[in-house]
């Protein structure tokens, strides 16, 4: 059982008392100057708290969270692996934290070398010709990648190609990124083996096709066995292949996506490369491409000239997708992890991620139906259809009572009552055994005492929350 902080915690505004302050500045040593007339702000409704109150408040809030540091967190497609503390120690150096982005390049050689080395390593891992570290997240990498396809089509004089193919198992960010780049999406169904239906793909390929976005392994946790054929067919039709690297943790050191014909791809450094997810970011969505699309990468990118490093825009770059050079602090963490893991370690990462997922699948699939009878990669999808009247949501919430974070639920959309489970390589066999035991006990409870599931969680700071009310009458800030 977990030991979460169950006390109600007031809002910062409710803790506020007039006259308190949590941080003081040195006394000003310059004269005062008058503010411009007509532009003076008279009120500022921020709370007033002393330092200890702020410390207790946020410490107590933190205790209301599940996290990797405290619980097993098998969220499918999120790769909630351990985030090494050395990453944080490395990133805390004053030489990174207090480095201004507009310092002259000769005064940022350490930072530029890190960017260059990370680009080099990631493009090798992916089997690509070049990489850019500008995108701030996976979806930002997708947006950059589809814009690169747009730019390449423009150079070919083929902007009439507006159709982007998206498998029905894809993350929602894929179609949303296409819309932001002006493409129109067409869904490609999965076949009975969980892979892209090749006949449906062939039927969709015409001279309006811009490309396809593929996640491999897909969100069912299955490798797209026909990846080479898919790439060949799309290329023959004049389109490009975008690789969504959300699930790269299954493949590091085992398979280079670039070698199968993928033209451009992002990696989520906050998944595969162990940087913390921070309760919703910051991430880093490195994007890499083959020779044909590399000139279109977003920039600036780091380049090495002789013994020194500088920033340059790729020749036909789509431009900048954010200010400055990416989520640099996240990149420092990913590079630290890469040094510690190395080429040999990355293969062991993939081997153990896949081993752990298949082991956990073997432990639960007798009770929770797994729709595709194949070895999974780093994750698997099971169905919560164990007892009539009990839903995946109930199972997920009951797992909380056993001290486990629920898996990803109701995704991918093509599996009814989906439970998408990704244990990662950093979990021990005993943790997987305990989790499987909990899943099996819950299945028993579902048959014998279903109310235990319907009313779950029982051991969390709050019970199930009314999400309908939240959306219908939105309260989005403190109204004191």
């Amino acid at each position: 059982m977990n030991t979460m902080n169950m006390r109600d915690e007031p809002l910062v505004y409710e803790l506020s008392r007039p006259g308190r302050i949590g941080c003081t500045l040195p006394r000003s040593d310059v004269p005062e100057y008058a503010l411009p007339e007509g532009l003076v702000r008279t009120d500022l409704d921020l709370p007033e708290l002393d330092e200890l109150t702020v410390v207790r408040h946020f410490t107590r809030l933190s205790q209301k969270n599940f996290s990797i540091d405290t619980e097993f967190y098998p969220l499918g497609s999120c790769t909630m692996k351990y985030n090494p503390k050395a990453n944080e120690a490395a990133a805390a150096h004053s030489g990174w934290k207090n480095l201004h982005p507009l310092v002259e390049p000769e005064h940022a050689q350490g930072a530029l070398e890190l960017l260059w080395r990370l680009q080099e390593a990631l493009q090798k891992i992916g089997g690509f010709a070049a990489a850019s570290l500008q995108p701030a997240a996976g979806a930002h990498g997708e947006f950059s990648g589809v814009l690169m396809i747009h730019a390449a089509l423009k150079d070919r004089g083929e902007l009439g190609r507006k159709k982007m193919l998206i498998p029905d198992s894809a993350h929602g960010t894929n179609p949303a990124s296409c819309t932001m780049a002006g493409f129109v999406t067409q869904t490609i169904p999965s076949g009975p083996d969980g892979n892209i239906d090749i006949a449906a793909l062939r039927a969709a390929l015409d001279d309006t096709v811009a490309g396809i976005m593929i996640t491999n392994p897909n969100t069912l946790g299955l490798f797209e066995t026909n990846i080479e054929e898919i790439c060949r067919l799309v290329h023959e039709a004049g389109g490009y292949v975008y690789g969504d690297g959300a699930n790269m943790n299954a493949l590091t050191g085992v398979f280079k996506p670039g070698s199968s014909g993928i033209d451009v791809m992002h990696f989520n450094l906050h998944k595969t490369f162990s940087t913390p997810h921070g309760g919703g970011g910051p991430g880093a969505g490195m994007i890499a491409a083959n020779e044909a699309l590399a000139p279109y990468l977003p920039g600036p990118v780091a380049v090495k000239r002789g013994e020194s490093y500088r920033l340059e825009m790729p020749a036909k770059s789509i431009g900048q997708v954010k200010a400055f050079y990416g989520n640099f602090g996240v990149l420092v963490r990913a590079y630290t992890y890469l040094l510690m893991t190395g080429g040999n370690g990355l293969r062991r990462v993939a081997e153990n991620a896949v081993l752990n997922a298949n082991y956990l699948k073997a432990l639960v699939e007798g009770v929770y139906p797994v729709p595709y009878k194949r070895h999974c990669m780093h994750e698997f999808v099971a169905k919560g259809t164990i007892v009539p009247g009990v839903h995946t949501l109930d199972i997920a919430k009951r797992l909380i009572d056993y001290g486990f974070h629920p898996p990803t639920i109701y995704f991918p959309l093509i599996v009814q009552e989906a439970l998408m489970i990704e244990p990662t390589e950093t979990e021990s066999k005993e943790t997987l055994d305990q989790y499987a035991d909990a899943m099996l006990k819950i299945a028993k409870e579902a048959a014998e005492q279903p109310e235990l599931l319907h009313d779950a969680p029982h051991n969390a700071p709050v019970a199930r929350l009314d999400e309908v009310m939240a959306a219908r009458c939105p309260i989005l800030c403190y109204r004191g």
Partner: protein, 439 residues
Amino acid sequence: MPFIPNTDAERTEMLNTIGVESVEELFSDIPAHLRIQKLDLPDGVSEMEALAALDALAERNAQTTKMDWFVGAGAYNSYIPSLVPALASRGEFLTAYTPYQPEVSQGTLQAIFEYQSMAAKLLGMPVVNASHYDGATALAEAVLMAWKAKEGRNRILLPADLHPEYAKVIATYLTSFDIELARYDGDPERASLDERTAAVVVAYPGFSGEVYPVEKAAARAHAAGALCIVQADPVMCAIFKSPGEQGADIVTAEGQSLGNPLNFGGPYLGMLGTTEALLRRMPGRIAGETKDKEGRRGFVLTLSTREQHIRREKAVSNICSNQGLSMLQTCIYLAALGKQGLRHVAKQSYDKAHYAAELIGRIPGFRVATKQFFREFLVQTPKPAADIARALAKKGIVPGLPVSRYFPDKPNELLVCVTEMNSRPQIERLAIALKEASK
């Protein structure tokens, strides 16, 4: 490797349970000719060796703490109280995912709600979302949001005096759409609006530091049927009238200087707020208050029918992971500084910048070109600003950003930024050094 607990004995046991001979068998779906055994990368090293390599790289960078630092231009040298990183780096915040399971994410969700509350007050807007990647992408998304809200209008007015990187990011975001980006000079009140204009963007302040009031520009935009977007300095908003109070429809800001380190340009914090009327067109995550079945207050992610995981190609944006931890740092920073503290930061920056401008303005050959500013101003220099900066760097002074870095046709302009971190002796040394360098 310390991050993989499985021992060889356990691996064998697990393979037996699965019913396969080897791990390689689990990879049998990958065509054999595409499988590799090893990457062409060095083997992994110990934590001790990795940290030594990282420290050696970090030591080669200039640090604002070791110099007299006067460069801003979108990234500000500000004080971060010790409690901010101490609290934000707690593992329970740091290693949690996006709060999809609200019952075990109340810490993150309440922090988002508190950030939204404080940021909304600061910017003067009814609602603020949970974050964007940075100020530039927040502004680009705001432009797209305004364009979609004003169907049939495809012209966006941008100030000529906009951070050049922001202008580039907006151009990238609009690549595939038929949107005309027109630039206007000077006071936004005089920007030429027409029936094709979807929105006018006001920089508050501009890249040069110049501050124009928003109120009349917003009123004129509304009269012409357009929206008013304001890109604001959030610290300035502690002592200057907020954009919301002056009629802005969408406000974006770079929140880095509210508790986030410089970090060579990221991670930073994109802030975006809007009106009730535009709420359902706003991109990004939003936390909302609700109750559990026992009537206790709790928080959830809400209005998600705007978002990609529900709406897919019809979503208002593709944003998913955002800048959660940067937002948390800002939330803690705002709670700690509070009403008085943030005003002190803003007023000290203002006073110190104006003191610096006064001293620099008195040096023969130098002229302060910005008329009304907060903490950053443009100086016309008698010699190329880059040469001056190079000479002063040898004395440990970084006097400002030579504008030629972005605009080679403006060699004799220096953008000087003064924050609460600069002391009077530093400012006086700067003035003396500038005078010497101009000889």
